[in-house]
Subunit: 201 residues, 2 copies
DNA sequence: TAAATAATGAACATAATGTTGTTTATTTAT
DNA sequence: ATAAATAAACAACATTATGTTCATTATTTA
């Protein structure tokens, strides 16, 4: 009795995931049946149930697996202080976009397609939120704010994800660095100034 | 043969919708079966199929019905120029929040709950987007921008919806006017300035 | 090579969908 | 007021997917 897992188990699990990814791209999550997965993975339908409770359970496992890669990349982003947030946001955004550009089809299926998985967006948002929150604590200490911290954080994450989704939906129309820089400029200075429009007080 | 609809039809349709709304709040959209709806509406399951193709079709009808009310409210918001966008955003936000506060349970079920309906958010975003786009055209003409107009619009809508969802999720923690004002300040001047933190160039 | 265990295959119970055809009840138009 | 039109009810059916059970076969590990 060793720590190793039976080779058959590893093989089966991998087949299931590959099949699942392919099918998501082909027909969307909702339309997939367990039988579809079994057929594609070339296993018995029963075997599926030896590894996953049901379809949502499989989805969860897969999302976590893929997002842990994103999370690792984001966690490594340095916090550049003074004024920390602007460059940090830019770095994190660029990191995320670059990661996505390496897995476009999957992210497209999860975030953009008709049959997209909204939980996936929620999980991504949490990764971003954790990172920003961490930076916030580091840089901010506990000086009072003119507005709700929760509101501010929600604002940052929402706009962040909005740009990310826009970027994917439009087929990566700008270089990752350029999109990241436009985003951080808007967030830091306001949309009018960032757009080059004079702001009357 | 008149323009009027048979009273039985009107009665049935109304029962179906009421039943549907109740069930969404009780168990979430996905868990609802046609039989559930029929039972609650006290009609035969067959009768359901006389009025709707299937569950998604019913959902669509209901969302459109409810969002048209929101749309009407938003469309009526005036565009205050100079600098138009800031106060317009604030007005639209306040209008939306006030509308939501009159239908909290439904919006909560559609936007926040575990079994929320992501299409609903997308439809709301389109309403906001249309409004902002209209204002943009009015105020902006065709002077060149320092950043992509599409990106800017996506940014505005995403942050807008983020605040809206935050507000609902946290049980309407601020007066609608206050939340609207904080939002417009962030968007107009940037998050650091809005938060009261000095921005070093 | 024996023991452990993963995968298969077949069967079954359950639940939901969507359709068809007939009958009953209600509504509208004359 | 009544006949014609039609909505709703009722019952039956085919189809599809889910999740479980159990005996058998094959593979892997120790």
């Amino acid at each position: 009795m060793n720590g190793k897992t039976d080779l058959r188990v590893l093989r089966t699990r991998q087949s299931i995931r590959m099949a699942f990814y392919e099918l998501i791209e082909e027909k969307g999550y909702e339309a997939i049946t367990i039988q579809d997965i079994a057929d594609r993975a070339m296993i018995n339908r029963n075997t599926f149930y030896l590894h996953h409770q049901n379809k949502p359970d499989l989805l969860d496992t897969c999302m976590d697996e893929l997002l842990s890669e994103l999370k690792n990349a984001v966690v490594l982003c340095p916090f550049n202080m003074s004024p920390f947030h602007i460059s940090t946001l830019e770095t994190v955004m660029q990191t995320v976009l670059e990661h996505i550009s390496r897995n476009t089809t999957f992210y497209y299926a999860m975030l953009i397609e008709e049959n997209r998985i909204y939980q996936f967006r929620a999980k991504m948002e949490n990764i971003i939120k954790d990172k920003l929150n961490e930076g916030w604590i580091l840089a901010q200490g506990n000086s009072p704010l003119a507005l709700s911290k929760e509101l501010l954080l929600e604002y940052l994450v929402s706009s962040f994800m909005g740009i990310v989704m826009w970027w994917i939906k439009n087929d990566l129309p700008l270089p990752a660095g350029e999109a990241a820089s436009q985003f951080s400029r808007i967030v830091a200075y306001g949309h009018l100034k960032a757009a080059g429009i004079a702001v009357g007080e």
